[in-house]
Amino acid sequence: MLPNVNDKSVLAVFKLVKAPIYSHCFSSDRSLLAITCETSCLVYRLTNINSQPKLVATLANHDKTITAVDISIHGRIVTCSQDRNAYVWEPLSDGSYKPTLVLLRINRAATSVSWAPNGYKFAVGSSARIIAVCYYEQENNWWVSKHIKKPIKSTINCLSWHENGVLLAAGGTDGFIRVFSGFIKGLDTKEAVAGSPWGSKFPFGSLIKELYQGSYIHDVEWRSKIEKVAYVAHDGTLNILDSQGGLQSVNSPDGLPFRSLAWINDHEIVCAGYSCHPILFSEASQGWKFAKNLDKVADAAQTPVATGEGEEGEDDNGTFGISALRKFKELDLKGKVTTSVKESAHENAIMELAPFAESNGQVTQISSCGLDGKIVLYTV
């Protein structure tokens, strides 16, 4: 892989595994990194961003593909998997982890998991049209779950907790973005949601807001301070919803859908997905619009790569899959690929973005994981 020399936005590239990474999470002090790798969750120690992370633990209790991982503020790791289970991994003093099975009571794959900000409960989305909100029960020494069922019609793809730990945004393949209440008696207090613009009563499982988007929703993320929720959908849009139901929408500049998003500040969002590089959007007086590309490989038209004569086929129109086409032509004619072919840091779709470093309420660095088995750090 050749780093994209013209772009300073890539801080570090870690090629960790030879399998897709569907989800990743850093601990709150950024010293530990957990990634999904097939049926295991791998935990790495990151000393600094210039050296490769060191594998410190392999969490291998699941027997089907792990779909999501999250780390709580207390350092507990939660993983969920297509085997319909979730495990909470308690860190022990010797650096190993003690697993506890969570009773999800679902009959389809678990697809997404997210710790509440206070670290005492988490939500699991599933293909069983259920969101399981799980919390620890002292008396039974067990993680139990309560279900949110109605009116979910299909798989839940993504979840996000509001800072108050009560409002839970969820999106999925039924094309609806919904805000539920995940209020657990004894864990949450009514004061946390007092004066919320989203409603006045928040009994567990009640539907607070619902909006029809029409296509699969891949990721959703709260910006609690300004009471807005942003989500990306498979039609290539980034959408920002406020508590009054006002919706702003902006298209991906190259048309390809996003898989994930991260708020940078109240007026900026980074999205990434099938175009393999992050894209920054910002809010101006006329609404949200495209701001810039991070680590975008210049179009073939702008960087003329030496091509042999007779290669200018009619399919060479510079729009679709041109770099792949050229690569194979080069292989065919010369038996090698020219060194001038540039690649973006991610060579396949980006699955998840997360804030990595912040200063003064502004995210300055983000991390991403992709189907190419890489973790990349970008500076915004």
Binding site: K153, G175, G236, L256
Partner: protein, 153 residues
């Protein structure tokens, strides 16, 4: 019971919550009927027969009858198809540039729909010309929207 792997376990569970075709229909506040749509179809026909294709396309791609039943949609489709096929090839690019992104998405839906029905297949060349020019003007964005949208024409 040798073929137990093929047993549809959801059929035995009333609570299974299996997705039905009905669940995938977007929530419409109002279902438009054939009568309500007639004036628009008439207007579309008169615009296209008077040669004002640009206005006709604008009209056709605004507020399409998503909620109507298949027969009504088919009637509307025929009127749109007439408009699409009466255009002069040289005018297509300019007409497309006059459309906003939403209108372009609706137009792509009608182009795909046109290519899927026999009447449209007879006019395949002109539909493909529309399609080619549209991707030159708007890129793949309207196609991505079309592929993921449950509101069909």
């Amino acid at each position: 019971m040798s073929d137990w792997r093929r047993i549809d376990i959801d059929a035995f569970d009333p609570e299974s919550g299996r997705l039905t075709a009905q669940d995938l229909i977007p929530p419409y506040s109002h279902v438009i009927t054939a009568q309500e749509l007639q004036p628009k179809i008439q207007q579309l026909r008169s615009l296209s027969s008077s040669g004002d294709i640009s206005s006709a396309i604008k009209l056709a791609t605004n507020d399409p009858p998503y909620s109507a039943d298949d027969a009504t949609k088919a009637q509307y489709m025929m009127a749109v198809l007439e408009t699409l096929t009466q255009v002069r090839q040289a005018d297509i690019t300019n007409i497309l540039k006059g459309l906003n992104p939403q209108e372009q998405v609706v137009l792509v839906k009608y182009l795909y729909k046109g290519m899927s029905i026999t009447e449209g297949q007879k006019q395949g060349g002109i539909l493909l010309a529309w399609f080619e020019k549209l991707t030159q003007v708007a890129g793949v964005t309207p196609i991505v929207h079309y592929l993921s949208d449950r509101q069909t024409v």
